[in-house]
Symmetry: C2
Subunit: 436 residues, 2 copies
Amino acid sequence: MSAAEGRPIRVALLGCGTVGGEVARLLTEQAGELAARAGAPVELAGIAVRRPDKHPELPPELLTADAEKLVTSDDVDVVVELVGGIEPVRGWLLAALEAGKSVVTANKALLAEHSADLFEAADAAGADLYFEAAVAGAIPLLRPLRESLAGDRITRVMGIVNGTTNYILSAMDSTGAGYAETLDEASRLGYAEADPTADVDGYDAASKAAILASLAFHTRVTASDVHREGIADVTAADLAAARMLGRTVKLLAICERVTDDDGVESVSARVHPVMIPRSHQLAGVGGAFNAVYVEADAAGELMFYGQGAGGAPTASAVLGDLVAVARNRVVGGRGPRESAHAALPVRPMGQTPTRYHVSLSVADRAGVLAQVAQAFAAHGVSIAAVRQSDVGDRASLVVVTHQAPDAALQSTVDEIGRLDVVHEVVSVMRVEGEDQ
Amino acid sequence: MSAAEGRPIRVALLGCGTVGGEVARLLTEQAGELAARAGAPVELAGIAVRRPDKHPELPPELLTADAEKLVTSDDVDVVVELVGGIEPVRGWLLAALEAGKSVVTANKALLAEHSADLFEAADAAGADLYFEAAVAGAIPLLRPLRESLAGDRITRVMGIVNGTTNYILSAMDSTGAGYAETLDEASRLGYAEADPTADVDGYDAASKAAILASLAFHTRVTASDVHREGIADVTAADLAAARMLGRTVKLLAICERVTDDDGVESVSARVHPVMIPRSHQLAGVGGAFNAVYVEADAAGELMFYGQGAGGAPTASAVLGDLVAVARNRVVGGRGPRESAHAALPVRPMGQTPTRYHVSLSVADRAGVLAQVAQAFAAHGVSIAAVRQSDVGDRASLVVVTHQAPDAALQSTVDEIGRLDVVHEVVSVMRVEGEDQ
């Protein structure tokens, strides 16, 4: 036990919005409990906010507008960052780490772009950098990936990591309404931000996928490495097509280890809408909940489920990290460092194996199926299932493929769209999970 | 960074059955990966087995029958115990901890009885005691409870933690067969041990409940504090009754914080069969899988799912702990200590609030419902739902109650069984989860 035991651990809080307010509240209300678990009192040394005069609810002696000065104060052991965004936060956190402070952050955008700098600074100073709250809110996910599975070989991480898009897709599925209408409703109910771009265009999920892939595969993946498609192009017809097949549509983040025919390993990280069977556990994850599957060689299939956002759930994850960091200070150690020793290349989306669902409106005459099937065969895409049904003088043709490189599937769909016998490509979507 | 970085971490393995064999294999096959993650090579210093001559598959120079000597050898940093049972293992692990070795164990029975001694020895020596593999196999559950949720207040842990009983109940549900017949089939298929007592009578689940309650509530709960009922009395009629209500039956471990009317806090830990709605996520957990719900004030509802047993999944959890312990040695710190600072009393089962389902065969005449309802009322038990249906000259009466102390519910059932108008108490079972 270190001589430091008993000395209070002093915390600088950057940002005091929904999550920060919860953290400040819990630090005060749970003080005795937190001290018992950390091995020393955990105290607020200061709170940096843009406008101190706008926070009458907080003790004035703790408030400051000068985050830059607070983070390197001699009186601070740990910096908790809940401001978000890249600059000026990046500079503050680097300064804090260089000054030997440990850092707890929920900033997924920053970590998805600049984790290398931050981890280097943490390693150089022997300080901790924890960020459980950056992915899947309250769900303990990063610590299991980093620590519990450290002796295993993770092959796949797949999940619902954005609550807004999951709410919208769940609502489209249950009401049959279109995307624009459902987004409006979600905004009205407070499930979508005034500017929903980061959520609906998949930027938020892509940042999380980058963080998950980096931790799971011990390599470096940034947000720009992640193939990203949002939900703005998902139509009521897509959901209707999914329903016909006993499936539904979810926006998934999928991170995989891929080994090519020559035995060369790479990683693939992508975010896009996916049709999954209704019997799949992810299909039942509704509203603002998150759920993530992890597959590993020895552990097999694991699933983690819980609230992905919100003040209290995110604060829970932040406090878990804060207790860990405080305890490391008390006992004189530090937590696991980041490891990017695997240094695997990132596989381009076009070369990533996927499966497609294609729903077509075609002419109702002989030879149509043969022409469509020929287009798939020409691109080396093997067909898993076909369903044809007549609707008046047109026919509906649904094709589900086996796995093929994504680029081959895209080219096939482009070619099919140009066939005379195809009136309309009603729905194209990637699929995951076996039908039962 | 400690000067020890780079020096190999030497491991003594006690026991080399299914799990131990996997651990030994992975330690060799994944040596490079494990070294990268731990910050130093992780090497086998010795393997203690009862009969070294029975293990031609292992390097003979590592084998010994003298576990007692191996665990305190100067050449050993960490002891991995996979023998199981209380004695002589307890003595070995105490000796190892007293000699400053860290310990990784999957021994739930030992932890559920003697964790206090073991944690004291670990604390006195500044050594680590990790045991993720003791509960729910590969599922990262204990580390999230101990660390990720360290800043939150856990109110409830509920789950399926025994694969054998889950397999049997799932099979009874899908085939309609009785308990004895299904157990025979499970034994034949290798899902149940030759002596299935520890599983079917709930001892295994009770040990796990004790460990979960201790960690979740920062208090000390032993296996003997856990109310325990196995599945041997679950009948085909129970499952049929559950099916009628859109429910199924699972053996659950339930650990709760209970606050009585005077504001006094206590904990309740119990293992018994429970009717849950088929729409509940635990209802869909089939075969040998485990799943555990955790509810916390700030985090809300979390769920963890995965393989609960088996050589490779259990080895994954052991290796995760081993890497953590090795890394703690390399950086010169240690992991979180156990905390039993809350020291909450354990509530007797009779005073624990539960809800009952009671299915009766009653005389088909006026006034029967009134008599039955009067019996519930006399014990202060409020009825949530009643369903009555005629079958010939008898009637079936199903009652689901609101929450009441378990003893009051038991007394009510006893009294109802003695009523003249009741021909038979067909099924009595506790229920969890809201009907939809």
